[in-house]
Amino acid sequence: MKAISKTALPDLFAALKGRVYVPVREGKGFGFAPWDGEIWPADYQNTIVPPKQILFPQTEDLYSFRMEGEDIAIDPASGPEEPIFIFGLRPCDHKGIELLDLVFRQGPYLDAPYSKRRDNTFLMVLGCKEGLPTCFCTSFGLEPAFAPGADWNMWDLGEVLLIEPGTAKGKELLDGLELFREATEEEVSQAKKLRDEARETITLQAPVEGITEGLQENFEHPLWEEVARKCLECGACTYLCPTCHCYDLQSTSVLGQGKRFRCWDSCMYCNYTLMAGGHNPRPTKRERVRNRFLHKLQYFPENHGEFGCVGCGRCLQNCPVHMDITRFMAQAKDVMAK
């Protein structure tokens, strides 16, 4: 384990060859932004928008086109080239990226822009000292102050950051820069204590045991209608979710010249599944809310063997009418028991 003084962080950022994203104040909260010479804020707990937006931007050009007589000229957008360093993401968001990897970098098709970016991304996870009341990462087997498989895990000990590499790439970078010293035994035990204590601060629990199997049996249960009742069908929960990956493909053009891009889309929106002939397989918010919860708790586990929720609590925090997935899970468990 190595240590670096927080005052030396600008040197670290400057030494990294690529674009460094750090959490900065944004509106009433925090967000990731390219490092511009300012030091990162120490008191942030998590960003409003998860770092998925760095690897899977909300809007991204795919190609530009030009109608030339009867012909179409297509010019692919230049892909991401620069290496990306995300400094200070939380373990839940690290897991969120691992889950996006399952969608975008696996299966018969790779998502080229995401995969290219991801292959060139270095994740520097900062352990949480303390969870928010809305955090429930431990329910999904996560640790608030440690992300298995992260390039770096870091712990904030006040004056210094402790760093432990978790990948070969992580070790190489740590060994290759002369900004670090060996951590003292005292510091190592402090980090361990921080890690243990952080776990205890996560008080919210979601009942995950058997939820997938239970939901499989209850697709038509009246609970769905009840749960969906107060939903206003905005996209806040999905856009702020570190694992939601739905997107739309759209074009914009003037006089036969334009570009095609992709942008985030939400299964909560009324026309998301609406077909050209007018048929909509998910016509009301009952079906749409059901799809969102089932995608996290049933479909994702069926397809990937893992829950599609990391317990970051963003949806609980930002839903205008306080829809609460943990409460839903508890209700669903009650229903299943009957």
Binding site: L132, G235, A236, Y239
Partner: protein, 318 residues
Amino acid sequence: MQRITDKMRKRAEELIAEGKAVRFLGWEKGSFWWQSPPVEIKEASQTGRLNWDLFCTANLAKYLQQMQSAEGKTGVFVKGCDARGINRLLRDGAIDRDKTYLVGIPCPGMIDPDKVRSLVGDGEVTITQTEEGLSLQGPLGSRKVALDEVALDKCLTCRHPEPVIYDELLEGAAREAFTGDPYEEARELEDLGSDERYDYWAKELSRCIRCYACRNVCPACNCIQCVFDMDRPNWLDGATNLSNNQVYQMIRFMHVAGRCIDCGECERACPMGIPLRKLAAKVDKDVNELFGPFEAGLDPEEKLPLGTFDPNDPDSFE
């Protein structure tokens, strides 16, 4: 608070039993201290879920539209801003007065959770009402404050904390109605130079993620199909960029011009913390100066300033 909660539960139970309402819309205690989300009560036996506290911020008027196709009357508890929301919807013919039963609650003003957090932290927070105000307890300590120190900004300038339409009114103390200048912030922004003002809004609106939470909570956004959900024609594509975000917010605020009741739900719902009430205030100020004085949502049959033609309307495009 408890007294009003008890009364709410009792009245809802009675009204459902008497058949005056088939269901009731109110608030229940949420998962956290700062949450009192909307709830729909369908049986007299469930009325114990109803709860009144200083977090019953959500405007319930919005839900009446989805209740229109349901059988029977819907009972609704209304604060000042809910009541104005209902007048709005009535004025637009979006809901049927005969299908609603309104129980008014004089509103003391609602709490801004962020203001409480900044004083006593988050987590285990308890808020108790005292003679003088509120006693806050949280991980960072205890504080005694006046409600106004932690109230939502929109409540501080609320001109109608008493419901303006109801079938019956619960007894209770409303906050004092605001009589000052509602456009102070709008004026401050106007006083900036146009470049500065542009930069201010560009910075704020560049954060918009177009989740449409502001639109979907808004009791003045009652279109059956919103222009932003249309494919043919597609007025605005889905790309989030400053230009598109500006178009979205400008169209929305111009569309609610003269109909916005300043319930502040857009700003509360915005996850990105965009100060949407300031945009609303500027539009409302202009409507008032050009066609006013006018306050939306005070009367279900009000003449809308932008919905009524008057040959004497100012014509500044000369």
